[in-house]
């Protein structure tokens, strides 16, 4: 599948934002984070700015962005529509949570918890858009939902730890970051192992129904140049590049942030702050690469009509 930049930016940025929002909404009312108003303003601003930037980025993927509001109508059947509804609805409790905290110094448990629920539901909807697509077998996989949720948790907690260093450090959050990285790592390796070992859902024989006649080879393609299907669905990433990118994501995007989060727990002052910020930047980059791979490694069954033998 073609890794469209706007879509990858969308899910990476909203992952950061919703992860951060959910953590603030749950941890602050229970007194696990400072109630400082400036902290509330900065952290919620980062979360909401990241969510908004991601949602705006997704509009660049649309052919008719001016009609985007129509996407809120089909929540009964469409995960994309549900995601839109959840994303817009989450602004309401998040706004109330922020206004009460920043302007009135009150941390509302109800607004916080509802914001967190909205954030988690929106990320679930994003994951389900892919998870529900049978024609892309590597997306129609049980690991997809946990990976999206854990990626949002990991990027949210990394940025929370980084921001907290300006408001008196809180080593436990960096510890939580290390745990979230480890959890995402396990889920991501589980996903990669699953897609590497899964047997094909569909084959050229089932796509054409000519299995009983014999083995099928493409003799002549229907067109001599590219078309929409090949550009969008026929994107192919060389296996050796995929392996290298997986290693880069694992070491640079998860391994280093894990170690840096450990350093942030063990040290204090500016080394801890530098480690937390570097961890947040590298971790987000790692999720961006992982998300790019999620598209680039996925193969659509329509490629079976264009000469692939299995998908």
């Amino acid at each position: 599948m073609n890794p469209a930049f706007s879509v990858i930016v969308f899910s990476t940025a909203t992952g950061v934002g919703y992860g951060l929002l959910a953590l603030l909404g749950i941890l602050t009312p229970f007194g696990l984070l400072p109630h400082d108003r400036i902290f509330g303003f900065v952290a919620l601003a980062v979360a909401l700015a990241s969510i908004t930037a991601g949602l705006l980025s997704s509009l660049f993927h649309l052919g008719r962005p001016e009609r985007a509001w129509r996407a809120l109508s089909q929540w009964r059947s469409s995960w994309l529509s549900r995601e839109g509804v959840a994303a817009v609805a989450t602004y309401v409790p998040a706004g109330a949570f922020g206004i009460l905290w920043v302007f009135f110094g009150r941390v509302s448990m109800i607004a916080g918890v509802v914001s967190a629920i909205g954030a988690v539901m929106t990320v679930c909807c994003t994951a389900m858009i892919y998870r529900s697509l049978k024609p892309v077998p590597r997306w129609h996989n049980a690991w997809v939902l946990p990976v999206y949720l854990l990626a949002a948790l990991m990027s949210g907690v990394l940025w929370l730890a980084a921001i907290l260093h300006f408001f008196g450090s809180l080593p436990s959050i960096s510890g939580l970051a290390a745990a979230a990285i480890a959890a995402l790592c396990v889920a991501k390796i589980g996903y990669w192992r699953s897609i590497d070992t899964a047997s094909a859902t569909s084959t050229a024989a089932s796509a054409l129904g000519l299995g009983p006649v014999g083995a099928v080879r493409l003799f002549e393609a229907p067109h001599t140049s590219q078309n929409y299907l090949l550009r969008e669905m026929g994107f192919e990433l060389a296996r050796k590049h995929a392996a290298k990118l997986r290693r880069i994501a694992l070491v640079g995007g998860f391994g280093f942030p894990f170690l840096l989060s450990g350093i942030a727990v063990a040290t204090s002052g500016w080394p801890a702050m530098a480690a937390a910020w570097l961890a947040a930047l590298l971790g987000t980059t790692g999720i961006f690469i992982e998300r790019w791979l999620f598209f680039a490694e996925a193969r659509h069954v329509v490629t079976l009509y264009y000469g692939k033998s299995a998908a």
């Binding site: 008719r64 059947s77 080879r217 140049s225």
Partner: protein
């Protein structure tokens, strides 16, 4: 609206039956489809750089050609691919705007061009590559089963069929109601063992494909063998003498 109509709404399921045994791969169906739909309700089907080295454009019908089987059992199969107007079309249910819909009265899957936001998710949800994005209009386009022909009362009754069916010079394409077990197309499917593409996807395609008939082993009523058999080398007589002379 993008929820599917209840299955009880109508038993009518209009669709195509494509005979892979007699399709000659001439692409006339694809060309006439393009021709009709460039001007019809779904038009224009935008082309980009049509006269350049890398032409690109929206088509509702694509004809692939395959080699099937090995050696003397091998054969060429031409395979027209278009929207199958599925019973359970995920392209419809994933649509966030209600632009994609399945008609309750005849099962035709359509896109409302005034509602489509061009998110392309429906094209991801279709296993058969039936939907092609029009970059110029910013919306998704697909086969309409020539809805502006089949119900067109200004046409003579025999012309109220999709453009691809009307133009096929080999009569490899048939149009009819596959929801009616007594229709000509349903009988054809039953008789020839018509099948679904990618049944494992469980989309319940309406269109059916008829498999190539078994290869003929004799030359029909003449009684002659289908393949020439080597007559062997003559050992005596004039031909034997010539053979020996020339083999020297």
């Amino acid at each position: 609206m993008t929820s599917l109509p209840p299955s009880s709404s109508s038993s009518k399921r209009l669709g195509l039956v494509i005979d892979l045994d007699i399709c000659v791969g001439c692409h006339a169906c694809a060309v006439n489809c393009k021709e009709w739909n460039s001007a019809g309700a779904a038009g224009p089907l935008t082309d980009f750089a049509p006269y350049d080295a890398e032409p690109d454009g929206v088509w509702f019908n694509r004809v692939h050609t395959y080699e099937v089987g090995e050696g003397s059992e091998g054969r060429t199969v031409h395979f027209p691919r278009s929207c199958l107007h599925c019973a359970e079309p995920a392209c419809v249910t994933v649509c966030p705007t209600g632009a994609s819909f399945k008609r309750a009265e005849d099962g035709i899957v359509l896109v409302d061009e005034n509602l489509c936001i061009g998110c392309k998710l429906c094209s991801w949800a279709c296993p058969y590559g039936a939907r092609e994005f029009d970059h110029d209009a910013g919306i998704m386009k697909k086969c309409t089963l020539c809805i502006d022909r089949i119900y067109n009362e200004s046409f003579a009754v025999e012309d109220r069929i999709p453009a691809c069916v009307a133009t096929c010079p080999a009569s490899a394409r048939h149009f009819g109601d596959l929801g009616d077990p007594d229709s000509d197309v349903s009988r054809l499917v039953a008789e020839r063992g018509g099948y679904d593409l990618m049944p494992e996807m469980a989309y319940g395609p309406t269109n059916k494909y008829l498999p190539p008939r078994p290869r003929q082993k004799s030359a029909g009523c003449t009684g002659a063998p289908a393949e020439l058999v080597h007559a062997g080398t003559a050992k005596d007589g004039l031909l034997g003498w010539l053979d020996r002379l020339l083999s020297r």
